[in-house]
Each structure stands twice: as structure tokens, then as C-alpha cells.
Symmetry: D2
Subunit: 337 residues, 4 copies
């Protein structure tokens, strides 16, 4: 029999602990960006990347990978500038959403409650910014994708839409990456307030944090934070979609080459996550990562892996190829509110 530690909790303690348990994010859900060249970007995401266009509505285009179950994982908004507008994270329950609202209030973090229906396919949501200014959306409800176009309907119940093999055809949306001035500070906020686990990080010779990777789910990261080497504020580094194999990654390289999309870096392999990657700049200037491989993290008491200067280069690319300078300096702006 176990030596049960008698957990005597006061009612208040229990209430608080229960709320802590219930106030939980489930996973990253989507990213919304504005694009200065909607026509070319839409061509890129649908024809080259092979994402499925769920619908187009005024200035907005809603996109998803063939096995993304949701209505969309990427929103493009036609605009004058290419910016990160918002990133959406799904919470674990309706009550969870309410508890986040309560918590934000308690911490005096300004937020906006957005009624369901104001945004296509998304229910009630809370909008607020991280310390570095990342525009966050928490939501509980989002419509599932239901194929109605016979060209993409699959006879497989597990396929919300058919694998057509068109373009790069990633399987699913994966993560976002942001450049910030102070990685450590931002990471701690995400981990402490939002419960997004810290998975691995790189320190430089001065023991300054160069990058941190975080996730709520078993994937190795849903959000990455990289140090802006120019220290000029927060920039959107990239969004990422996931492929099934290294061979598909090479196929993606060929498609990029034939479609005149510049590969900024890669193929390479991040030693940190094991992600075999390429980075491309899409026609409106956003960086997009396509990757495969990598590992899952199951351990409930995972301790973030430290990559110090002795191993950091392997962390960036274990095959040795160096990133271009742009990789550490270039990003698109964030929408200011």
C-alpha cells in the first residue's frame, strides 16, 4: 500500500488548485497574417504549398492543410503591409476560457472579450498581448472543416479532405516562431501564465538566452522564441507546416525551385528538435518553414534541455550548414494595437 501523503487542503486552496487544473490551453490552433500581395500569396499557399482554401470572404482567405480538422489554421488578410495579426490557441474547455478571463483580470493584463460570430468559424475569444507584444487569442469553439467540394471529399472518415498530392501538401499546421528582445522573460511568462511547457533552449557565451521552444502538447514546440540579434523589438519569424518524410521535404525543395520561391535556408536539421527543415520567403514577405522528423515529448516532468555554446551550432543545424544572417535579423512586423 502507498504511503499516502495526507492532502489536507482548505476549501480556498482546493478552489484555487482546481481552477489551476481547469485553466488550461489545449494546443495552438491558427495564425492570422496580413499580406501585401494577396494574389501572389494565395497562389503560393494554394498552388505551391498545396493548402486547401476553405473559403474566401472579402479581404480574408481561410486555409488549412489536408488533414487539419479545423475550418482553418491560417488566415490571410489582404492589406498594405505584411504583418502578424494574431495567433489563436484553443483552451481545454469552456470553463477554461472563463478561468483565463478571471486570471487576466486578477493580473491586471488588459484583454478584450470577443463574442463568438464576430470572427468566422471561431466562438467566444479573449484577445490580449504577451509582454513582448504577441497578439494572443484564446478560444474554445472553432468549426470543423466539412468538405463539400467533390474534388476534395475523401471516402476515408479520417480525412477531412482528400490527399490530392498537389504542391507541397503538408499534413498539418505545426507552430509559430517569434523574434523578441528578451527570450527568457517572454518564455517564463508563457510557461507561468499560460502553462506552455519549456522544452529546450540555447544559451550563448554570455549566458544570454538565444532561443526557447515551448509546447502544451506532445509535439516538441508549438511556439518558438528567438532572440532578435538587432534588439529592435518583436518580429514575426515564421509559421510552420509539417510533412511526413524527408523525401517530401526534398520534393518541396524541387517545387520551390521550379516555382521561383527562394529557399532562404536548408535543407538542414535542427539538432534541438530533430526537425529537418527548409525556410522560404513567401511572395508577401512572411517566412514559412516546412519540416519533417523531430521528436515527441511525453514526459509530464520534462526538464528543458540546455544547449550551451559548445553544442549550440549543432542545435541550429546538426549537418553543419550555417544560417544566413537574414535568419537572425529578418522578420515581418506585428500589428500594433
Amino acid at each position: 500500500m502507498s504511503k499516502i501523503i495526507e492532502n489536507v487542503r482548505s476549501e480556498k486552496m482546493m478552489q484555487e488548485e482546481l481552477e489551476n487544473q481547469l485553466r488550461s490551453i489545449a494546443h495552438i490552433g491558427h495564425v492570422e497574417i496580413s499580406v501585401s500581395n494577396m494574389e501572389k500569396s494565395l497562389w503560393f499557399y494554394t498552388e505551391v504549398m498545396g493548402l486547401v482554401l476553405t473559403e474566401q470572404d472579402g479581404d480574408y482567405a481561410y486555409l488549412r492543410a489536408w488533414q487539419d480538422f479545423d475550418h482553418h489554421t491560417l488566415v490571410l488578410k489582404a492589406a498594405n503591409d505584411s504583418k502578424l495579426l494574431r495567433m489563436g490557441w484553443r483552451v481545454s474547455s469552456l470553463e477554461s476560457l472563463q478561468l483565463f478571463e478571471k486570471q487576466l483580470g486578477k493580473m491586471n493584463i488588459p484583454f478584450e472579450w470577443v463574442e463568438g460570430g464576430k470572427k468566422k468559424a471561431v466562438g467566444d475569444a479573449i484577445h490580449f498581448n504577451s509582454p513582448a507584444g504577441l497578439p494572443i487569442e484564446l478560444y474554445w469553439e472553432k468549426e470543423l472543416f466539412i468538405a463539400t467540394d467533390p474534388n476534395i471529399m475523401s471516402k476515408l472518415p479520417s480525412h477531412p479532405s482528400k490527399y490530392t498530392g498537389k504542391g507541397v501538401s503538408p499534413r498539418r499546421f505545426d507552430h509559430v516562431n517569434i523574434m523578441v528582445n528578451d527570450v527568457k522573460k517572454e518564455q517564463e511568462w508563457w510557461t507561468e501564465l499560460l502553462g506552455i511547457h519549456h522544452r529546450y533552449y540555447i544559451q550563448n557565451e554570455e549566458d544570454v538566452r538565444l532561443g526557447s521552444w515551448l509546447s502544451r502538447t506532445n509535439v516538441a514546440h508549438e511556439i518558438a522564441l528567438m532572440r532578435n540579434s538587432k534588439q529592435n523589438g518583436t518580429l514575426f519569424h515564421h509559421l510552420a507546416y509539417y510533412l511526413d518524410s524527408a523525401d517530401e521535404l526534398i520534393r518541396a525543395c524541387n517545387l520551390m525551385a521550379e516555382n521561383d520561391i527562394e529557399i532562404e535556408w536548408g535543407p538542414g536539421k535542427h539538432g534541438t528538435s530533430g526537425a529537418q527543415f527548409i525556410y522560404v520567403i513567401e511572395p508577401s514577405g512572411h517566412r514559412v518553414e516546412i519540416w519533417t522528423g523531430g521528436f515527441l515529448i511525453f514526459s509530464p516532468d520534462w526538464e528543458a534541455i540546455r544547449w550551451d555554446p559548445g553544442s549550440g551550432d549543432l542545435g541550429l543545424n546538426m549537418w553543419g550548414g550555417k544560417a544566413p544572417d537574414t535568419y537572425f535579423t529578418y522578420g515581418t512586423e506585428l500589428e500594433k494595437k
Copy 2:
């Protein structure tokens, strides 16, 4: 502002709800089997499969895939018969383990508390059986694998041991599959008592459940339950390791052929999970699956996908090749207690 539903809970309700939240399994951790031919099976798992032998101790051999972070994910025990001895699941916290003990007591399910140290590398554990007789182990602590052999030490902090490329070289342990007489009953018990989510299932023409796949994590299944078509009790169907790509799966086929290991079925692709698979019978008679592809499930309110007779064949193999009869009838025995 949200229309907060006033959650007025009594102290007792809170206590119960908190315990429900805290009583939680994290993930499947290992499987223990006895093998009638230790020498040949050990050759198979190390030389053909390319698993790493952590240590051998008396009748026991402890194995893991190159990126399994734990001391072991597979235990072989030399014996007269080849049987499933036990499957280990890690819980989410020490308190969680104690709450499972409490719950089992409350439900009058017989269990054994096994002190840490009695089993190599594993801390305190609870042993009990499912309704169909599956021997379950819940535990909180397990040693991590620390490479000491220079031949397998990696300079990458993310690699508990080096990728050597020897044999099939799967990346990680994945799941177990059990044949039972009554799939539906067993599935419901796993979902209700243990909180292992129901992911998809197949019904036959008489609306009898042919198979159910369940997971606690984001992987599509950590345990599968298949109907024993002979209805002669519970059998161990297979254990599974995961590969990074279809190309590696084909490479595995070549290695099996050159090493005289019969491929029972495959390569094929389960439409249910998207797993591209082969099944082989190892020298002591256990079935082993090697697979790649598949999808992750992130949704916190996932509704199990139903495959009915119209689509069930696609669920089994969307490429059309039929499973041999043995696939539905053959399994190794369970250790009886």
C-alpha cells in the same frame, strides 16, 4: 465580458473534481514480454530492429529505441513460453498514483502495490488487471537512460543515444495492441476508469465492435483493442515501434527479407490512423509492428471516428491488400496470475 456561469461547487464536489483532474495517466511507457527463445529474440531486437540494449540482468533484457528517453521501453524475460507479462503506463504525478490507488479501492478492483526498487529502474507501482485481463502497471518514477558506452553516446543533448543507423532503427516505442472478446466493454473501461480517450473504431455489419483505438497523448493510439474472431479470450496482438518515413519502412522490409524474418502483412496503410505498416513475427512468436506516418489528435473534445462496414476495409488497409487470416486469430498468451 463573458457570461460566466457561476460555478458553485460544494467542498465535497470540489474535492472529487480535483481528484478527478489530478488522477491522470500521462502516457504508455513500456511493455514486458517473456520469450521462449531469448537468444534469437535478443538478436532480432538488437541486430534486426536495431534497438539499444540498456542492460541485461539475469533472465531480463532491457531495451529501448535510440530516442526513447527512458531506461527501457521493452523488457524481455527468458522463459518457456512467449507471453505478455505487463504493460506500464506512467501517471502524471506522484499524487496521481495515490489517487489511482484510492480509486481502485473504491471500485473494489484488486490491485497490488509494488514498492520501488523491486523492479529495475521503476519506482512505486500499482499492478492490476483490466476486465479482459490485461496486466496493467501504473508508475510515476522511471530512470532516464544515460549513455555510458562511447559507441552510442551522442554529442547532441537531444539524443539520449546516438542514431547509429543499425538495423531498422526506429525512433521510439509507440503502442500495444490486444485481442479481446468484447472490444466495446474493454474500451469503455479504459476510457472511463483510466481516462484513455477513444479515437476511432470499426463496427461490423451486425454493429459489433471489431476494433477500438485509444490514447491519452496526442498520438492516435497508445493501445488498440481488436476483436478476437475466435472469441477464445484475450491475446497479445502486437507491440509497435515508430519510424520517421515510408522510405525507412521499405528499408525495414529489406532488412527483414535479408534476415529471414517473415513479414506477416504489409507494407500496407491503415486508413484509420494513416499508419503505414508492416507486421513481422519475431523468433519467439510475438508480433511486432513497425510503422510510420499517421496523424496526431489535438482536439480536447475529439469525438471517436466511426468506421462502418462500408469503409472498414479502407480502415484496415486503404491500399486494398487483405490481411492474412492469422492477423485476426493469432496472438501470444497473457501471463495468468
Copy 3:
């Protein structure tokens, strides 16, 4: 210094030997088939297989893989029945064509001289039948493919058309396979008259030839001959296109499944050639192989590899999966002249 064997040849011997040297086939060039359902077959070859339609002219459609340099490697003719019309082989020079004409006359083999221009894109040609009735075309000139459609033009001089990634997208046309009553007899004729080297063969328990594979180039076979187990004459077994990787083969399986094209056999791997394969039946009933891997043969004195009953099953599928009966009995008819 070498011990030069004095080669004293008479003028007549020299003339004959020179002609033997010059009378030479270079490679298989194309296959022409009639299709009972042009609309569906054209959809299959362009949308599912991803071949490029060079042009359509009346009842004829001319197709090629993205890196086939010629105007076409496959000709479809709309007709009432699905038949093999002809297979074209390119000779090594204009003089070679004339020397084949001379040789056929000498051997009293009926042939037809077809003036260039009567067939699209092909110059002067000789038509004749093999002993088993295979309709052969020898030609010297064929137009190269020149892309004019901007959607398929590549900026790479090595790409006659762009890799679009649409459908299966094989790299090139590869070979044909014919079922005949007497494999050995037919093989010897191809080797002796046409100089197509014998590469490997399978004998059954009664030492009857079950199959022979032949090529003039370094690829392992350009034409295969298989025993018709019903012994009811000559049938067209399949045509084959080549892929770059096992991963692309698996991708092809997925595309077949999603497009309701039945995979008759595979994925499997012929031990003989090392070809990793699938066979599908296209909408008009012809069998098409898609394959990857395999070996090249460089040796000028290659001795055909014998597969006897002890190894023949490995020769057919070294991964063990058995071919369906249809594989040994079903084929489309040959056009009778």
C-alpha cells in the same frame, strides 16, 4: 605489349561483322495502346499518373513523363477495345535502320517500311512481328519534346518540362512486359536478332521458363516476357514508369486509393530486379506498373542470372506477399494484323 591475336578477316567477314556492329538497337522508345474509355484513361494518365499531354490529335493522345526528352513515350488511341498496338524501339543510327531492313529480308521475316511523317513525330520506321506476335517498330528519328505551355516550361535546361509534382509524377518511361506461351523461344529471338541482352530469368520445377527480362541499355529490363499460365497466346501484361524513391511509391499508393484506382498487387519488391513496385489497372483495363529502386547492369559480358524454384518466390517478391492469380493470367489483347 599485348599478345595481339592477329585478326585476319576476309573482306566479306569484315563487311558482315561491321554490319553486325552497326545494326543495333539503342533503347525502347514508346508504347502505343488503344483504350476503350479514352476519357477516363486520359484522366488517369494525366491527373492520377501526372503524365504530360504533349498533344491530342483526333483519336490519339501523346503523353510523356516530365523528364522524357521525346515527344511522347505513350500513345493512347480511342477505340472499342483496349489493346497493345505497337512498341517502338529506337535504333542507334540511320544506317542501323537500313541494316535491320536488310536483315529482316535475309531472314524472310515480313515487315513494312513506314515512311516518316505517316506517324506523328516519328521518322521512317520498320514494322514487323516477333514470333509470339509482338508488334515491333524500329525507328531512328523522333521529335524531341519542346515545352511551349508556360505552365510546364522549366528554367532548367535539363528539364524538358517542369517537375510540377502533380499526381504520381514519374520521372521517365521504363519498360513493357508481355505474356507469351513460350518465354525461352521468344527471349532467344529478341537476343539473337535484335541484340537485346538477357538479364535474368526464372525456371520452374519442370525447368520451364517462367519469365525472362531483357535490355539493350544499362537498365535491368526494357522488355520482360512472362509465361502465360493459361497458355492461350500472347497478351500485353503491362507498361511501366519509373519513380525516384520508395517514398514516392508510397505516395503513389495514396493517390491511387484516393482516386479509386485499384492496386492489383503491391507494394512489393521483385528480388530479380530490385524493383519496388505497385501494379494498377487503369480505367480501360491495361495494367500499369509504377516502380523505383532496382539496379543497373554495366558489364559487357553479363551472364543472365538464373532464379530456380528455390529462389523464384523471392524473385517475384522478396518481401513475401503473393501475387494475385490475375497477375499470371490477365492481360490485354494484342492488335492482330
Copy 4:
């Protein structure tokens, strides 16, 4: 009937033409190099590359890929310096060898006749140098590899040795690459004297030849000639082995990283040949290419593809990554005679 051009040839013309036809190279067969660190290089070629060691004899080690049919395709000689010693090309017949001897005499090119048996596994051979000093060996006979070690014997008659999956495990030896001062002059000599076809070439802005790729067989190149940008003479650039898939290439990257072998360049893709490549420097300083993909050339009247300055960068790497400077300047020396 054909309009036969009456080929009236004089006896002398016939003799000459027949000799031209018969004097023919079949394919590249092996490369011999000296290595300053035999122990580490042997470890690299056997453990990391996964080549099979046929035998070791005094200072010499004889190696081959698992499906190379010959006794060896690579010879290592323990020495003080790492140099290219010789490259062997197989001729098409015994008579062919004699005719090359005759031709070299006629052209006053110094050569040495090496009796069979003086070199392991190779019959009578002719040794001579190209204008740029490349040490060439022509031979007719070479022993086939016969596996005697049960660990590498295969039950497949098509496998001279078993696919073990150890290390990189290339399928076959492929080609050599040499840096010379004057590419055009050297290429023309190879094409005119030795009949090695010119396949593609790159010209710079001053219309100077930067590289030429040549082959006798259907593979795109068996020997490549690159301009030494320092113009300081002839250097051995690399030897190359061939892999079956892009996925295997990525696997090779991982193995190089884990074994501390620097990847000098890649993964990238030569637009010229379609070769997906990495280049590594082995422990004694020779450069080794590992590649996959690429195209075969079947046309008997192939016209060399010109890559001019507008497309040359795509020719070098169609994915955009630039070669390091060392790629254009570094090579190992040639053995001087």
C-alpha cells in the same frame, strides 16, 4: 522500302571503321587512391559509408558497395600522402583492349602494358595518362565478387552481397570528378579518343568552360571535369557512390553528423544532372560525394546540354545554396609518374 544509301566502303575503310566500332569502353570500373591515414579511412569507408571490405592485402584494402558485382570498385593504399593513383575503365571486349593499344601507339601516346595478375583481381591492362595527367587504366577482365562470409551472403542471386543496412550503404560506385586547368581540351580528348560522350557543360561569362560531365553508359556522368579556379594544375576532386533515395541521403547526413565527418556542402541538388548530393571530406582528406536521383541518357545522338551564366547557378544547386569556396579550389593530388 528504304532508300538505302549504298555504302560502298573500301577494304581499308571497312577495317578502320570496324576497329572504331570495336574499340570501345564499357564503363568506369574503379578508383585507386592512397590514404595518409589508413586506419581512419578504412573506418570511414566500412563503418560510416558501409562499404564491404573484400580483402586487405599488405598496404592495400579492396572495397565495394553491396551491389557492386565486381571484386572492388575502390582501392585504398596506405601511404604518406593522399593521392589519386589511378582510375580503371573496363573495355567492351578483349579485342577492344588490343585495339586501344594499337590506337595509342598510332597516336604516340606513351602507355604501359600491365600483365594480368600483377594487380589483384584485374587482368591485362593498359596504363596511360590523359593530357591533364589523369592516370587511366583500361582492362577487360576483373574478378567478380563472390561472398564467402556468411554474414554478408544473400539468398538472392541478384545480391552479390547482402544489404545489411550498416552505415550509409550506397548501392553502387558511380563516378569520379577531376579539377583541371582546361576543361574543354580535356573533355574533347576523352570524347574523341576514348568515346566517352559529352553530356552537359557550364560556360562562364567569358565563355570559358567551367565544367563538363561525360559518360559512356546511360548514367549521366561517369567522369566529371571541373575548372581549377586557381589554375594550378590537375587535382582529384571526388569519387561518388550512389544511393536509392533522398531519404537515404538525409539518413547519410545524420550518420555523418553523429560520426563527426564534416559535410562540406549539401544537401543540395545539381540542376545539371538532377543529383541530390552531399560532399564530405574523409579522414585522409579525399572528398567523397554521396548522391541520389538524377537522370539516365538513352539517346544515341545526345547533344551536350549547355548551361550558360544565366542558368549556371541552378546547374550547381537548383535549391540555391552556394558551394563553399573550397569546393572550387580544394582537391587531393595526383600520383606523378
